[in-house]
Amino acid sequence: MNPYDYFTHQLNSPSWHWEIIWYFFVAGIAAGSYITASIAQLTGSKAETGGSVRGYLLGLPLVMIGGFLLIIDLDRPERFLHMLWYFPQNIPMFKASTPMSLGGWALGVFGMFAAFSFLYALVRMEKVTTPVLVKFANALHEGPFAKVNLILGMLAAFYLATYTGVLANTSHLPGWAASPLIPVLFLVSGMSAGMAVMVLMTPKKNELEEYMHKLERADTYMILFELVVLVTFVASLGRWWYTVGSGLYGTLLWVVVVGLGLLVPLAMKWKPNLLGQRTAVVSSILVIIGGYFLRYVVILGPQSGYNGF
C-alpha cells in the first residue's frame, strides 16, 4: 500500500500553453501551404499555378506570426537571440542534440524561402512589377533554379512542420514521449489545413477550376491519411492513450478533430453539393478548426496532471 504515489506527480509540465498551440498551428499551415503550392508549381500548368501561387502568400506572414508567438512565450523574451547566438563566447548557437535549436534555425531558413515565394506570388498577381524583382522571382520559380529552390524550400517546410512533433517526442511527459507519430501527425494536419486555406483563397474562376479539383483531391488524400495517422497514433500511445483520448481532451479529439475536422469534410468531399455552393468553404473551415484542436489536444493533454501545468 503506497498511498504516496510520488512517481506520476513527480515529473513537471513545461506549461506550454496557447502561444505554443498557435505557433504549432500557424507553422503547420505555413509549411503545408508552401509545400502544396510548390508541388503545384512543379507539376501544374501555367494556369494551375495561377491559383496555387496564392498559397505562397501564406508562408511569410505566418512564419513571422509564429516567430512572434515563440518570442512572447519565452519567460525572458528579450533574450530570444540567445537561440541563435552564444554571447558568452560570441559564436553561433547551433546544437544538433535539441530539436528546439534546429527548429529555430529551420524557422529562419524556411522564412527565407517563404519570402522568395511570397515575392513570386506578388509578381504573378502583378502586384510587384519592378523588373529586377520579377526576374529574380521568376528565375527561382520557373527558371533553371526552380527545382533546386523549391525542393530546398520544401525540405525546410517539411522540417518546420515535423520538428515540433520531434520536440514533443524528445521529452519525458509520457503522453508526448510514448509514440513517435506526433511529427507525422503534425505534418499531415499542417498539409490538410494548409490546403484548406488555399481552397478558401482561390477565387471562383473557371480557368482555376482544374487546379481547384486537384487541390480538393489532395486535401481529401491528406484528410484520409490524417485519419489513419491519428488513429494509429492514439493506439501507439499504449497505456498513455488516456492523456489525449479520454476526458475533456478525449471529447475534443473524437468529436471536434475527428468528427467535425475530418469525417464531415470527407463526407463533403464525397458529395460536393451537399450544401450547394458553400460546401467547399465549409469543409475547409472545418478542416482548419480540426487542425487547431488537434494541436490543442496533443499539446495540453499530456501536460495536464503534472506540476506547473
Binding site: Y86, P88, Q89, I91, F94, K95, A96, S97, T98
Partner: protein, 192 residues
C-alpha cells in the same frame, strides 16, 4: 576525501571565474569560460561571530555572518568546529536567519490602554517609566510583611512567566530583581 568542513572558517571569498569544458552537444567548442554570475558568497562575506542555536537544548554551535558595512546579519549556519553538531543544524536552526531578518518582526513599542480595541505606538523610554511606576504602585499597595504570624516580605500581586529561551545572565538578574521585589509567582517553561 570530502572537502574538510573546517575550510569554512578560512573564507577566501575569491570569485574565480571557473574555466570549464562545456560539452555543447554536437559542436565541441574550445573550453568555455564559464561566466558565472556574481557569486553569492561575496555578498555573504562579512564578520563571523560564533553563536549558539536558540531552539532546542542540544546547543548546536552556529556561525553568524554579518555585513561589515550595514551591520545586518546576512547568513547563519552551523559551526563546523563545534563538537556538539559538527557544523550541522536541524530545520529550525537552519531557518534561524529568518528569526533575525523577518518583516513580521515587531520593532516598535506598543501600548494598549485598558479596554482599547487597537494598539498605539509609544516611545521606549515612556513605556519603561510607566512599567517601573506600575511595579512600584502594585508592590507598595499589595505588599505582605507577615502572614499567619510569620515574617514573609512577599508581594503576591506581581507574577512573571518565561525564561527558558533566554540567556543565563538574564535569568540570573531577573530572578535577583524579582525576588528582591518580593515576587513569589515566578515561573518558566520548565513546568510545561
Amino acid at each position: 576525501m570530502a572537502i574538510s568542513r573546517r575550510e569554512f572558517l578560512k573564507r577566501t571569498g575569491v570569485a574565480a571565474a571557473g574555466l570549464t569544458v562545456a560539452s555543447i552537444g554536437g559542436l565541441d567548442v574550445k573550453p568555455v569560460q564559464a561566466r558565472v554570475n556574481s557569486i553569492k558568497l561575496n555578498a555573504k562575506k562579512g564578520k563571523q561571530y560564533p553563536s549558539v542555536c536558540p531552539y532546542c537544548a542540544i546547543g548546536c554551535g552556529m556561525i553568524i555572518t554579518s555585513d561589515e558595512q550595514t551591520g545586518k546579519v546576512i547568513n547563519i549556519e552551523g559551526n563546523p568546529d563545534s563538537p556538539v553538531n559538527l557544523g550541522s543544524l536541524c530545520p529550525k536552526g537552519a531557518a534561524a536567519f529568518q528569526l533575525v531578518e523577518n518583516p513580521h518582526r515587531q520593532t516598535k513599542v506598543m501600548y494598549r490602554a485598558p479596554g482599547a480595541k487597537e494598539w498605539q505606538a509609544k516611545p521606549l523610554d515612556w513605556a519603561m517609566e510607566q512599567v517601573a511606576k506600575r511595579v512600584k504602585e502594585t508592590r507598595d499597595k499589595y505588599f505582605v510583611e507577615t502572614y499567619e504570624g510569620k515574617k514573609v516580605n512577599m508581594n503576591p500581586a506581581i507574577a512573571s512567566l518565561g525564561g527558558a529561551t533566554m540567556e543565563n545572565e538574564w535569568n540570573y538578574i531577573w530572578l535577583k530583581l524579582m525576588r528582591n521585589l518580593g515576587v513569589v509567582n515566578l515561573e518558566n517553561q520548565a513546568r510545561i
